[in-house]
Symmetry: C2
Subunit: 442 residues, 2 copies
């Protein structure tokens, strides 16, 4: 391994000889002195090379000056020189006076994207787009967020699952299913780990989680949809109602936001102008019917024929919650059975309502959770009620025939959480490689 | 949430009233006293119910005796009673004298599998098979193993990736590719995150990891192959050779094995008769050509026409390493270019060999690692050399045209590591839901 110092560690390093490696962000090739801004995965530093002159004061074409003059942006180099702390240097108060510069791989002298390129163009060149400090930060803070969730789960004795993404039949709605040629037959890509994380309940696993891909053959082009996305799922047994799921959900988000704020809060503020708020618990909870009344009182009639909210309604109720409770999150609870999947448990005293919720963050739905129906006769009846064929669901219904504890859980879109945490407008900005109906490359 | 105590915590609990929840493992319905072994996600405990008699000494049919007599195996119950520590009780030295027993969900009185059922039959009923303590332990220790790896990565500033599993073209070999109907066109399921984790290098991410599914349309039915498996991947920049990758790989495995041994070592020994060994570093390294000579000296001629090892050769070299170095792991290094993918870097002084390795654990290959070729002209030439069309690879080759650091990494099959750690004979035993050419259910 090369003996380079990562750039973020230079500030704490004593003046003296250092070696750094990274890519060339900018070159200022002036007559008497050359400046290179070098970036690596951790930050940027200025390299400086005062030109040498001959006895008559004429600048000499020597190294590393010749190399610097020919550097294309993006070229990866290893630079050696004298580190010097100097308050006058804008970039971090340090610079490196170059003694040698080794070109490791040359970049072609072309910059296919600029900071004002369209998102689509940027996605064409995603590997260059990701070099921007904002993008680098997105994936570092996402790593921190996920690790905080996983640490919570592991400390609380959850088992991590890797459920199969290849299925013999649909997990939820057939409409959004990708079909796969599977040897002599067909398979389908999992839309969610729903059935299989539930399977961990009769298996006696107690509490489980999974972070993995989910696939939706959804032809929509909104800023919130993708054909492939990372789903965060958890499922726990021996709950009394969806209230227990919401409590878990809150604690996980607090753990995730606290870790991000602590590790990246200052950088997020500098690069995105956002102060990350660690949410207080409990998050506000509002039954959906009440939320619709509140929204109507604010002058917005949800233009839907079913009982559901719409995106504008979600923004409205979020505005109400912000004004009333000063909170960025709200659980909308007790959705109508008519708009929930067959496996959501219905109220004991009103089968028109379910033990379920959506979680709204800054006006956008990021998650659905529920208590599941674990009584097989009722589950079968509810499936039939939804026009599903219980025979096709037989492998799933079997999970409930040999004993199962009461249970519930949630699924949450990772990209939506990160997008909203940073005040961004599209999940494309926070997905490593976005997949949509028109995008399979790179 | 119900106020139950998880069973593993009973031992440290004072005698007195407790509530536990779980499923019925066995019932002994004797004339004067009934015993139920109740299991939950953490362990098993004996419930005891002395029958009541009337004045003439005739046993009365009262509760919970009636309920106990009708309990089917697998029924989920909540039991309340008096905890009593008693050394004479074989099962953990404790028992609960029942005061009440609530049936939460009845199981149908049928046990489709027994401990001696075939693996295929057990996989048909995987959710019941997973109730066995051995299976529960597999997934708890796998969780610990993964979390130890992730903690190492996070502490060392790696970025976690979620690369897309839907691709426009093959990542490695076309032969083993699953085809997906993708709107009006076709997509393919990723066989490995190879190309996309490499993309993080020109993106300037430095060090990355991913744990996620990979798909191989491989029609083989061996104990080591699946059509979908969990792949552990890591990729790092600024390496000098594959030696740097091996060092990372060793450290990760030491972290994983140490965490498993510490948390589950005693249980693994009790349930699998295996003492987990934390490997010492450095792991032995043997160039493949030398390994073949060693194996030949042991009397085994590898019956292959190419330069590769075969499974028996791997077992032989592992036996040699165990005898000679007392080590369960060995890196076989410097594979021939002829049997490595086009993107493996070749030796500077001998293009017939690559900067690559396979990692053998207890005689089975668990991983392939390499330094990657990052010089685009050479990469293109090597692709052509392998009969690949550089035009089809253009999106990948682009990653190298705009600057990229030297880099390398590895991919490792999670199930194989866990299988070999526990001395098991098939990855089916350590996969939550196995997928093979003939298996998509449950």
């Amino acid at each position: 391994m090369s003996e380079r110092i990562v750039i973020k560690n230079l500030a704490a390093h004593a003046d003296g000889p250092v070696t750094v490696s990274g890519w060339v962000e900018t070159v200022r090739d002036q007559k008497k002195v050359q400046f290179v801004v070098l970036r690596d995965e951790s930050g940027a530093v200025q390299l400086v090379n005062p030109r040498n002159s001959d006895a008559e004061g004429v600048v000499i074409a020597d190294e590393p000056a010749i190399t610097i003059s020919s550097l294309a942006q993006g070229t990866f180099v290893t630079a050696t020189g004298e580190l010097k702390h100097d308050e006058r240097v804008k970039l971090g108060g340090i610079e490196i006076k170059l003694s040698s510069l080794e070109v490791v791989t040359e970049a072609i002298a072309e910059t296919p994207i600029a900071s004002d390129s369209s998102i689509d163009k940027r996605l064409d060149w995603r590997f260059l787009d990701l070099r921007r400090p904002e993008q680098n930060l997105v994936f570092r803070l996402q790593t921190t967020f996920e690790h905080a969730l996983r640490s919570y789960w592991v400390e609380h004795d959850f088992i991590e699952l890797h459920t199969p993404k290849l299925m013999a039949s649909a997990s939820e709605s057939k409409a959004e299913l990708f079909e796969v040629d599977y040897f002599e037959g067909k398979a389908y890509l999992s839309q969610s780990p729903q059935f299989f994380k539930q399977m961990a309940q009769p298996a006696g696993f107690g509490k489980v989680f999974e972070v993995g891909p989910a696939f939706r053959a959804d032809p929509s082009f909104t800023s919130r949809h993708a054909t492939e996305f990372t789903s965060i799922d958890s499922e726990i047994s021996w709950i009394d109602s969806h209230e227990d799921v919401m409590r878990l959900h809150e604690e996980l988000l607090v753990a995730g936001f606290a870790a991000v704020k602590e590790k990246h809060g200052a950088e997020i503020e500098a690069l995105f102008g956002i102060e990350v708020t660690v949410p207080s618990t409990p998050f506000p909870r509002i039954p959906l019917a009440e939320a619709k009344r509140i929204v109507a009182e604010r002058g917005y009639e949800v233009p839907r024929h079913d009982d559901d909210m719409d995106p504008e309604g979600e923004r409205q109720i979020a505005a109400y919650v912000r004004e009333t409770f000063g909170h960025e999150f709200v659980f909308l609870t007790d959705y109508a059975s008519s708009i929930r999947p067959f496996y959501h448990m219905r109220h004991a005293d009103d089968a028109a309502l379910t033990n379920s919720y959506d979680l709204i963050f800054n006006g956008v739905e990021i998650s659905t959770g529920a208590q599941r129906e674990h009584r097989v006769e009722i589950l079968e009846a509810q499936a039939r009620d939804k026009g599903l064929d219980p025979e096709e669901l037989d492998f799933y219904l079997d999970f409930f025939r040999y004993g199962v504890p009461p249970h519930g859980g949630f699924g949450m879109g990772l990209a939506r959480v990160i997008m909203l945490m940073l005040g961004l407008s599209s999940i494309r900005e926070v997905t490593y490689l976005f997949r949509g109906p028109n995008r399979l490359l790179p």
